[in-house]
Amino acid sequence: MTVTIDGRPVSAPAGMPVLEVARGHGVELPGLCHHPGLPPAGACRLCLVQVEGRAGRDLVAACQLPAAEGLRIRTSTPALSETRSMMFALLLASTGGAPWVRAAARAAGVDPAMQGPWAAVTAGVEPDPCIQCGRCVRACAAVGRGLLQFMGRGDARRVAMAGRVESPGGAPTPAAGLTDCLGCLACAAVCPSGAAPWSLSGDRWHNQRWRASVPARRCPACDRPYTSHSLPDEVARRLGGDAAGGWPRMGGRFRAGLCPACRRRAAARMTASGAGAHGLLPST
């Protein structure tokens, strides 16, 4: 299937977001909310492209535009520049000019000092580096928890961890009957703003923004904390096994719950003894 980008025909798999098609062919498009591993959301509106031959409403977010035969788009037109500048102005205003948004604006050729009339509109809003792109929300859903959600409306709209109740003198805990955060920390890994970092302190991972903390798991061999407490159990469950009874699919050859570094040590011993997966003959 062929899509024409700025007059250049390129081949693309049907249905692939045009944003990914363009970037795959070296066409730079701004965009802060898209992640190729997550469903498109069209939240930041920065990857706008102009669809040729479409009267009115021809500015479309490329992340939500599936590649289709004969599709012709422009990535740089006066209308696009104007609209993109406005989108950046809005993001700059709502984040109080967060450095990472300023950098993104500069990279897209937009003057980050320009905040236009929007600066006044959002004057009372507390600055927050989060642009509500929803990558964390989508990542949490992809992992199968779906605890991170948009909450509130208008100025009060925020991403928050759902289902938590205040507990006296400590971090909020999950409400009765709800599964807790898995502690996979993907929300922080996919976040473009760095607004929701996790940190390990004592025996728990903490996230201030989500007002959450999850217990860490220590390796039974080296005693180092290496993941959250519940993640290995969840992985074992998904693999149809039981972490306590040895690692599923490996005939119980591995001690359950070892950290990756200690598993590598065990794998090296296996390889050297000729029992590794590589079917070694004795060393020559």
Binding site: C184, A186, V190, R269
Partner: protein
């Protein structure tokens, strides 16, 4: 279908394979430029110390791989053509399930790229960079049947050299 074979007896723990791996997966692809790159390029294999020597280990490209079974984005999928566990880093959201699922601890989180790292057998190269860099032949790349045949011949030669088979007609070609 070709695989990496490990001969721990030949490993000198020189870590050339790790260096070559990091350079091969750097943006620039050259050692001089890779040293200064941010985020720093990282290796996808490890020389594990063992009994005073070393054992280079990397992704086993498992059939029915646990990492593939738990991947939630499709970043890890079986590559039927190459017979490997295919990995598309752009799709990775670093939920780390694969890293915990890997029985050998060979998929790790990279804070620089905020994605998981896994050996891709250097797709696009004739042989993996680690194999090309290994000065002693501790790492070799080839068809498993051919490699095993080579090993058998080598053992046979050693047996002949130690005169255990002198006079017999059991020589190979």
């Amino acid at each position: 279908m070709r695989e990496i074979f490990i001969d721990p007896g030949r490993c000198l723990s020189c870590h050339s394979c790790e260096l070559a791996c990091a350079v091969a997966h750097s943006r620039s692809g050259s050692l001089e430029a890779a040293i200064g790159e941010q985020p720093p390029p990282r290796a996808r294999l490890w020389v594990e110390p063992l009994n005073g020597g070393g054992v280079p280990i990397q992704c086993n490209q498992c059939a029915d791989a646990p990492c593939v079974a738990v991947c939630v984005t499709g970043a890890l999928t079986p590559d039927e053509r190459r017979g490997t566990v295919g990995y598309q880093p752009p799709l990775c959201i670093a939920c780390t399930l694969c890293g915990v699922a890997c029985p050998f601890g060979l998929i790790v989180y990279d804070a620089g790229s905020r994605r998981m790292l896994k050996c891709d057998l250097c797709a696009g190269r004739a042989a993996p960079a680690c194999v090309e860099a290994c000065p002693t032949g501790a790492l070799t790349f080839g068809d498993p049947v051919e490699l095993q045949r080579g090993r058998r011949r080598e053992i046979l030669k050693r047996l002949q050299a130690s005169s255990m088979l002198t006079g017999s007609r059991a020589g190979g070609r």
